[in-house]
Point group: C2
Chain length 218, copies 2
DNA sequence: GCGCTTATTACTGTATACAATATTCAGTAG
DNA sequence: CTACTGAATATTGTATACAGTAATAAGCGC
């Protein structure tokens, strides 16, 4: 069941289903070599977690994100990450902070030959490691939920912006090392807001970039 | 379906099911005059939203909250409510703030003859109205989810503490009126942390208070 | 050809059946 | 009486069937 959940979640977050178009349970079940019942169970879970919408008589469909919704999710993400790094400045051990520094160095300043998907993954690892230092499991789960829901949009310009992203990550870790909570939080918020601006800009610019990314995901 | 969801959610948050004891789907379906399938669909949703745990072969059960988990949820709640009132200081109209003041006055400083359940409901309305002023739907949904999950514990000493709660609510609204974000946030955090301390204390004191509340809910 | 109505087909939401697994009960030995 | 084993029963997870509804196709009139 959890494998089925992971499979369908992956399809949802990579927008294999067109927004607002009904997910055909019969077809999906056949495609996944199972019956409708476990498929519906998974779809119900994803609906409850904010990934899908459900309309009586029309079944489940992928949600279409308005710029407003994206902005709200990013704002929420900024709030919890900002709080998390403040907690991390209090709670993290020196060893943990050094480990994060090593991770940054190992993942380099340049994208190298990594795909956008890999860069998104590395970016996520960095932010989740920060969140782990806050020692609040609920906050970590929340960040993971948000990141999954906005995953499609987090691809925007990822490879072109990797150097700047890593510079900003580095500054955040340095503030964390200095246990300067205010500076760390401000840097993190700026970092997230910059990304949000880029994404909103891309979404408003139309669907061309979005279609390219969908193809890249295939 | 949404009525079924509401019914089962109510049973879950009032701990009609004992923690860690399997929820019997057949019995529950019979009790609710439906078949197992929609019951399972609801249970899957509640599981996905953090209300229930699921073990293969053993089905769904109510989670048992450790003091750690309660503390984490309250910490998260404090973070988002604190951020929300900062946003409210920027975004709320004078009319909206006045409406909140009127709500406080209409719901009085004293519990009156209200039940604990009604007091919990009024407390929740106050906090949700604050959250609405932040103009972030995701944050409101998150607060509602957290409040539902900790609902059982929010009953602790509710009637005995109503006067103090309302005084604190009033101070928060006054800071909001003054558009003093720092003061409002500090007051709100203190308010939430005081409640958390009371609840953790009660939970650690044993199960007597908890059993009384379960009986009161029946 | 277009628009409307009706018939047909497909799909959703739920009920029921089935297979696998977990739990409970009964019998036996020490 | 206690502990262990095997059988019987109950429950879960999934497959399939059914009824109601939504979507599509076909036919007819203008």
């Amino acid at each position: 069941m959890s494998r089925l959940y992971d499979t369908v979640l992956e399809m949802v977050v990579t927008y294999r289903f067109l927004p607002n178009q009904r997910i055909n349970e019969v077809h999906l079940a056949r495609k996944l070599n199972t019956s409708r019942t476990p498929v519906r169970e998974v779809l119900n879970r994803l609906h409850a977690q904010g990934f899908l919408q459900l309309k009586k008589g029309s079944g489940f469909s992928c949600r279409e994100f308005s710029p407003r919704e994206i902005q709200e999710l990013y704002q929420l993400r900024s709030i919890i990450e900002s709080a998390a790094i403040r907690l991390a400045c209090e709670n993290a051990t020196d060893a943990e902070v050094n480990q994060l520094q090593i991770f940054l160095q190992q993942t380099g300043p340049e994208p190298g030959d990594r795909s956008s998907q890999q860069l998104v993954e590395l970016d996520q690892q960095f932010h989740e490691q920060l969140m782990v230092l806050a020692r609040n499991e609920e906050m970590l789960k929340l960040l993971q939920n948000i990141n999954a829901r906005i995953r499609f949009f987090r691809w925007v310009d990822m490879d072109n912006k990797r150097s700047k992203t890593q510079v900003e990550h580095q500054q955040i870790v340095e503030a964390l090392m200095q246990r300067d909570a205010a500076a760390a939080a401000a840097l993190l918020e700026d970092h997230i807001h910059r990304r949000l601006d880029e994404i909103i800009h891309a979404v408003k610019a139309g669907n061309e970039i979005m279609n390219e990314q969908r193809e890249q995901a295939s």
